[in-house]
Amino acid sequence: MAKIIAIHSYKGGTGKTLLSLNLAALYANRGKNVCLFDLDFRAPSLQSILKAKSTEYWINDYLNGVCDIKKILVDVSKTYAKRGSLLVGFANPSTEAIREMSAKDRKWEMKALGRLLSLKNSLLNDMHFDYIIFDTSPGLQYSSINAIVSADLVLVVSGMDISDIKGTQRMIDELYDLFEKKTGLLMNKVFANFLTTKGHRQELAKKLVNNSSLPLVDMVPCFCDILRSGGTVVFSNENPDHPFVKILDRVATTIDTL
């Protein structure tokens, strides 16, 4: 079923971009047509990770009403998708663009929401994409809330830090629930010793589920290999047998059932 997935978190550095990109590549490798958007306008990163050339138009231009959505999509299928297609909408990483985006007023944000909402028609219905994935900025700010409102499903990523868990809980109660969004919790960078045995995993899962009203989608341990890659690798493609990819494959399947 075609859907829009927003990947969000309370704090920064939880692994949203890595998860968004790898999830997008994973769905594409399943033969799906996927569109990935960098909506973290304060710290755009997808263009650097994918080593993509500078484009004429950015997602910023689409939201500004300067161009059609087709103009901003960059097809990276040849490099990053074995079967389906993977198209990316990059955010403009220039300092000037970041400054401009952070100075937008409420009326602009309202129009941007309208443009994000219209992607459901233009991309899912007209262009027949199977998935749209929004890599959002952390916390409660316009760009991330606009993405959440426009999405069918929110995958909220949290680390094990107590401030992160408490903040995530607040967002569940005061943001996702208010917008009646289907939501899944993905615990990331979990201390590996917590997940060594099935008993350990169940104990931690029980603790997390008791603390939050969200369906716990999965728990991803902290992998040194990922840290070592320095954020330059699409793991789903380069290390298909890595445990991270296997967990993500499970996550992708669970998302489809939400």
């Binding site: 689409y62 009403g65 059609d68 959505i69 409420r106 009326k107 944000e109 309202m110 129009k111 929401l113 309208g114 443009r115 909402l117 219209s118 992607l119 459901k120 233009s122 316009y142 809330i145 606009n146 409102v149 943001l175 208010l178 917008f179 009646e180």
Partner: protein, 128 residues
């Protein structure tokens, strides 16, 4: 009453009238100032149906408002189909949103359409 006494009474009366007018002037200046600030406040915080406004709306109105945002424009019947609530209920909520200044209403033939006023007079969402 002598002429001098009469002049004295008139002078005191005029003085009282002048004092009353001064007090009235003071009050008028305060009211004008208040109105000026209140209109400035309206300029700074316009009635915009953005996500922060959506968050601040009561649950029942938020559902209606989000549906209109998704549709760009819709009748009460179309909104009711999405929210699974009665048409009359949605009609009431939509009219409340119009009165709050977040939506506009336009009658075309027998149907009333509701939409977000994005540009203060521009009637529909800009198409992508």
């Amino acid at each position: 009453m002598t002429v001098r006494k009469l002049e004295g009474t008139h002078t005191r009366l005029l003085q009282k009238i002048k004092e009353s007018l001064d007090r009235l002037n003071d009050k008028m200046e305060v009211i004008i100032e208040l109105q000026k600030h209140s209109s400035e406040a309206n300029v700074e915080i316009p009635d915009v149906l953005d996500v922060m406004t959506l968050l601040s709306l009561p649950d029942h109105l938020r559902k209606t408002a989000i549906t209109i945002c998704k549709f760009e424009q819709a009748t009460a019947e179309e909104v009711a189909e999405q929210t699974k609530r009665a048409r009359a209920v949605e009609s009431s909520y939509l009219n409340q949103l119009v009165m709050m200044g977040y939506l506009k209403k336009e009658r075309r033939g027998r149907k009333a359409y509701f939409f977000v006023d994005k540009d203060g007079g521009n009637k529909t969402w800009q198409k992508s």
